[in-house]
Amino acid sequence: MSTILQIENLSFAYEKSNIVLNDLSLKIQKGSINAVLGRNGCGKSTLLDCIINFNQYEEGIILLNGRNIRDFSNKELARNISYISQSTIINMNFTVKEFISFGRNPYLKLGSSPSKEDYIKVSFIAKKCGVEHLLEKHINKISGGERQLVFICRALVQETEVLIFDEPTASLDFGNQYKLFDLLKLLQKEGKTIIFTTHNPNQVLELDSNVIVLGDGKILCNGKASEVLNATLLEKIYDYKFIKEHNVFRYSKYEKQKVNNGGKPTKNIG
């Protein structure tokens, strides 16, 4: 397995007083699924923003296939990394087909628009993701789960090696979350490298993907989820005592503990 993405000594602060990422170093392997795990506000999204070169970080370097991402032109970078945001409401009434075709922009010259071949690719990807029947519909008239899939289709027609997802399960219902995991596994099989953020360690365990744990702007650990995630680590991140049972982190049996201690709690749980 080769390294596709390398981050070295990355530091980023929104303001002088607000340091979000502190001297981060990280290697992402090609063809891996990576979950960036941490509590809200720990810098997960900020890290993604740095990788897609959206943030102006002062210190550190990010290499894609050995090349500094700052040396890529906009289009070049877009041909290598695609980004799937949380699917917000679009004000303009694009059709699903039009919306997915936006993913072809990195391959289009100034002044041109998607060709017949581009639209063939769009249909193909839509079929693959199971949204072919939605192509003529307006992007605002489909469900949240369908919209998320459409966003993914757009990223897929970009034909990139790396796919970055920002909190992909945030607006998905229980069933759709698992359908998404299926898709991620499928994409991994096709050789894509996937990075996504989540605050739910159980999802990561289900996928048994690589996990990068962020806390206090630093990487607390990096490795296979089943090996690396333990209750102590999670307590450090979330400030809550979990119990790991059958490969799932559950709420700690507070009441049971209280009873065992004669009615007094063992730890201050806020």
């Binding site: 959206f54 906009n74 877009a78 303009m92 039009e98 936006f102 922009n105 041109s112 639209y119």
Partner: protein, 337 residues
């Protein structure tokens, strides 16, 4: 799948050709219509290069042709400007004056009138100050570290308000009847009294503006998604935004500098076009150009024919524009809910 794509393309082509045809038709209609009666036969003879009586000939040459051509330019400019701003700000209720260019142009015009400059300088001054107003808006927006476009809109409102007050101040300072009358003209919107020179001034800017808008039309879709989305799709957001805002501002500024402030077109036409062909700017931009031109020619025809005196253009655009706008919103009511 491709069949449907072809069908859509064919539909778009039909609508485009239809609008071009309609534009030519309205142009010719405009040559017949007016308070001074000219026989239809004479209009044809005129355009075939034949001699007709002097008065009719002069009315067509010096009154109807310049006005209609200027109307086409202005209608086209304001529509594209509205289309661009609506996409850039991802808000279908935005009009060309949002960043303060119209009110800024009014200030420029009034300032030039106050100092007694020539007609050309008045238009030039309107154009320049229109840009300055937008520049001011962008400057103020920069003071906030917020990357959202709402700050831009709010700055535009602030600058627009400031400019309106300045216009009021200048009207107050006007110490001669002539200055006051001239200033009032600017605030109402008026194509009467335009000459063929005004058309020549408008033409290059409008051609360049249209050309660039069409080239960037597909990319405009992506710009409407916001900075981050645009970047990850390979668009240089800052540069593209800069070009778009400059084009939209230039088109609005030059229109206002020739014809004064005319409302509604930039707001309504793009929305009507979207009802017909959807939101893909590849289609919306060229159709807005045509739609705006046709609309303005019709408005001008009404303004100069309904009554013995000139009805201010904003009155007519408002009277026609409001129901059209309500219709467009009504059609989209489910979205809004």
């Amino acid at each position: 799948m491709n069949k449907k794509g072809d069908k859509e393309n064919r539909r778009f082509l039909i609508i485009t050709v239809g609008l071009v045809f309609l534009l030519l038709l309205t142009f010719f209609f405009s040559m017949f219509i007016g308070r001074y009666h000219i026989a239809v036969k004479d209009v044809f003879l005129y355009f075939l290069g034949q001699q007709i009586d002097d008065v009719s000939g002069d009315v067509i040459t010096y009154l109807r042709i310049p006005r209609t051509l200027v109307a086409i330019m202005v209608g086209c400019s304001l529509s594209i400007s509205g289309t661009i701003y609506q996409s850039v700000f991802n808000n279908k209720l935005v009009s060309p004056g949002i960043l303060g260019v119209s009110s800024g142009a009014s200030v420029g015009a009034c300032l030039a009138i106050l100092f007694g400059f020539s007609s050309f300088m008045i238009s030039f001054s309107a154009f320049i100050v229109g840009f300055i107003a937008v520049f001011l808006t962008l400057l103020i927006a920069r003071l906030f570290n917020n990357k959202s476009n709402i700050i831009l809109i709010l700055s535009g409102l602030a600058v627009g308000g400031l400019m309106s007050s300045l216009v009021g101040l200048m009207k107050y300072l006007a110490d001669s009847e002539m200055q006051l009358a001239e200033m009032t003209f600017w605030l109402l919107g008026d194509i009467s009294g335009t000459t063929i020179n005004d058309f020549w001034i408008l033409l290059p800017i409008v051609i360049v503006g249209c050309f660039i808008s069409i080239i960037l039309s597909w990319r405009l879709n992506i710009v409407s998604l916001g900075a981050k989305e645009a970047k990850t799709l390979g668009v240089n957001y800052k540069a593209t935004m800069a070009v778009l805002i400059v084009i939209a501002t230039a088109l609005t500024a030059v229109s206002v500098s020739i014809s004064g402030t005319i409302g509604w077109i930039g707001l309504v036409i793009p929305n009507i076009v979207r009802l017909l062909v959807g939101s893909n700017n590849k289609k919306v931009v060229p159709l807005s150009m045509l739609g705006g031109a046709i609309f303005m020619v019709v408005v001008d025809m009404l303004a100069r024919s309904l009554a013995p005196n000139e009805i201010p253009l904003s009155v007519i655009t408002g009277l026609i524009g409001t129901p059209l706008f309500v219709f467009a919103i009504f059609k989209r009511r489910k979205e809004i809910q």
